[in-house]
Subunit: 148 residues, 2 copies
């Protein structure tokens, strides 16, 4: 799978990026030898924050190579090509990282919904002065996202 | 310091929020007994992602109580009342968290700049097909942020 509108990043620039980023063992990775870095996914045109997940070096490399977002699943201990099962893929628009080089910001074009609950984004709980509320509706039935 | 436009969250709702959130030892905390959770700060009206930092339970409690963002500094091992020295505080508008309850999204009103480099946000490095670029200018001289 390729992102057709994406200009692939040359190998030497991918390697330079990986050299700059700080991967740590903070992510309670299944394989403790492999460092992780948090990655925030933001819808590139609306600014909506979709989700936060983790990447290892292989996930960063695949993402910059293909233009399709690939994370590292801490629970399953494998590369997580988001949308591979559900079709809800994220196309890379811009790959940024922060001043400390320990957090990635992915500007993406999300197909469908980002959240496994069928909501557009994962940040739907809100603590307010009158209680904890759910501030976003389900757009796609999770049973349709992950057919049995 | 208080956020004047903020309606304080009642104690029982703060406690319920803390019960819901998952704090882990992932953050390489100085005090390993105290769990941390990543928190993304987003400018509430523009959607700009300002920074990502960490909170412990005390930081969440103080933030929900005062309406002024307080993080946990992993490097210094203390509560980090952002802007206490520089004046670049973040006023809480909305406190959200995600489906897995392991990441916080802070919608804030950032006074001045979020980044210690004097840039509005911390995500100013971008990997492109022609190299790694700096995509944001310094707005305030860091020497003016942290006078000696």
């Amino acid at each position: 799978m390729k992102n057709q509108t994406f200009i692939p990043i040359p190998e030497e620039i991918i390697t330079k990026t990986l050299d700059e980023l700080t991967f740590s063992s903070q992510g309670s990775s299944q394989s403790s030898s492999q460092g992780l870095i948090p990655a925030i996914a933001q819808q590139y045109d609306s600014g909506e924050i979709l989700m936060m997940a983790w990447m290892n070096a292989d996930a960063v490399r695949e993402t910059l190579h293909s233009g399709i977002i690939c994370y590292w699943s801490r629970s399953r201990g494998v590369l997580w090509r988001k949308g591979e099962t559900s079709g809800q893929i994220q196309m890379l628009k811009n790959f940024r990282y922060d001043c400390d080089r320990d957090t990635i910001l992915l500007l993406v074009d999300q197909k469908g919904v980002a959240c496994h609950t069928g909501r557009r984004n994962c940040f739907f709980y809100e603590t307010t002065s009158s209680g904890i509320k759910t501030v976003r509706d389900v757009e796609i039935d999770p049973e349709d996202l992950y057919p049995k």
